[in-house]
């Protein structure tokens, strides 16, 4: 009985002290008045022309069909203090969530960071962080796809650059 109680206490302690996850970070701020939160789960096919940049439209649809959800959290009011504390929280989440950096890009004060991780068999999370002086956006794409498939999401058309080739 004593052992059982100790085990329960340890489990409870572990659950309380567990590091913040991406899910809990989104949950923390999705009702915050200073943030805009958008989630898309159904009808992702309508976004096929934006998400997939394959030459063949069927490939785009196939890629989009593998995506489960897109969640976007945006801070628009240029609150630098909040932005800073939020970024600190995000860094911790990225570290504890074992996210890998796929791309870091910067253009005229606009920064894009793309992170990804494979949590289970072919279950991938891609996190895109865009940031400029006045705005910070987190785009979280979750789907059942490989690393290559996930990176193809932002590969450009034939004339442009293929991100997955650069990363690999």
């Amino acid at each position: 009985m004593k052992k059982m109680l100790t085990l329960v206490a340890v489990l409870f302690f572990m659950s309380v002290t567990q590091a913040q996850t991406l899910q809990s970070l989104f949950e923390k701020y999705n009702d915050d008045e200073r943030f805009t939160y958008v989630t898309v789960g159904n009808g992702m096919m309508n976004l096929a022309n934006v998400i997939g940049r394959h030459e063949h439209p069927n490939k785009n649809k196939e890629m989009v069909s593998k995506m489960k959800s897109i969640k976007i959290l945006t801070l628009e009011d240029g609150n630098t203090a909040l932005m800073k504390s939020f970024m600190q929280e995000l860094d911790k989440v990225l570290e504890s969530g074992k996210f890998e950096t796929a791309i870091e890009a910067r253009d005229k004060g606009e920064k894009v960071h793309i992170y990804y991780r494979l949590s289970a068999k072919d279950n991938a999370d891609m996190l895109i962080v865009t940031r400029d002086k006045s705005e910070l956006s987190l785009i979280w794409i979750n789907g059942k796809m490989s690393k290559e498939e996930m990176l193809q999401t932002f590969s450009c058309n034939g004339n442009s650059v293929k991100i997955e080739e650069i990363v690999s």
């Binding site: 805009t36 989630t39 789960g41 976004l47 934006v50 945006t74 890009a105 991100i163």
Partner: protein, 170 residues
């Protein structure tokens, strides 16, 4: 006679011993009783008959097997109840399909079109930044394409060398 009257009085007061009661019973069974006691004879005979009476069918005892059957039924009902509540709990807590909505200034807006448009806008922003910042990489790729003929020349040279080697061997 007086003795019997005393015993009867004691009997009705509930003070008689078993021996005295037996004495009374024996008195009323015998034919020597006086007429004044005849009233009580019927009562004592009835008591006698009832004490000798046996039931035609003995009362059936609840056998342990019957108990077991009863318990099984109760168990079956209990398990069914538990299973039903589990199914109900799972049904209630089944993972919900993610819906399309937006939360603006703390207010939830159930507008699929808005959510999709917003997502599209944000993804386009990302695409634009990536396109712009990756332009130098595109140039590198173009240079690589431009150098492809040179690679062909080196391939031709290698082939010529091979042919030359073969000729020398011969």
């Amino acid at each position: 006679m007086e003795r019997i009257n005393e015993l009867l009085e004691k009997y009705f007061r509930g003070e008689t011993t078993l021996t005295e009661e037996n004495e009374l019973k024996n008195y009323f069974r015998s034919n020597k009783m006086s007429k004044e006691h005849a009233v009580y004879q019927l009562m004592f005979r009835t008591f006698d008959e009832e004490s000798n009476e046996t039931t035609l069918q003995p009362v059936e005892k609840i056998k342990p097997e019957q108990k077991r059957i009863k318990n099984r039924w109760i168990q079956a009902f209990a398990y069914t109840g538990i299973a039903a509540s589990l199914v109900l709990a799972l049904w209630v807590q089944r993972p919900k399909q993610p819906e399309n909505f937006a939360v603006l200034s703390g207010n939830k807006i159930q507008d699929t079109e808005y959510a999709e448009k917003y997502t599209e806008k944000k993804l386009n922003q990302v695409n634009d930044i990536l396109n712009r910042s990756m332009k130098p990489m595109q140039k590198v790729q173009n240079v690589g394409k431009g150098l492809q003929p040179i690679q062909k020349i080196s391939n031709i040279r290698e082939q010529l060398n091979e042919i030359q080697n073969k000729l020398q061997i011969k």
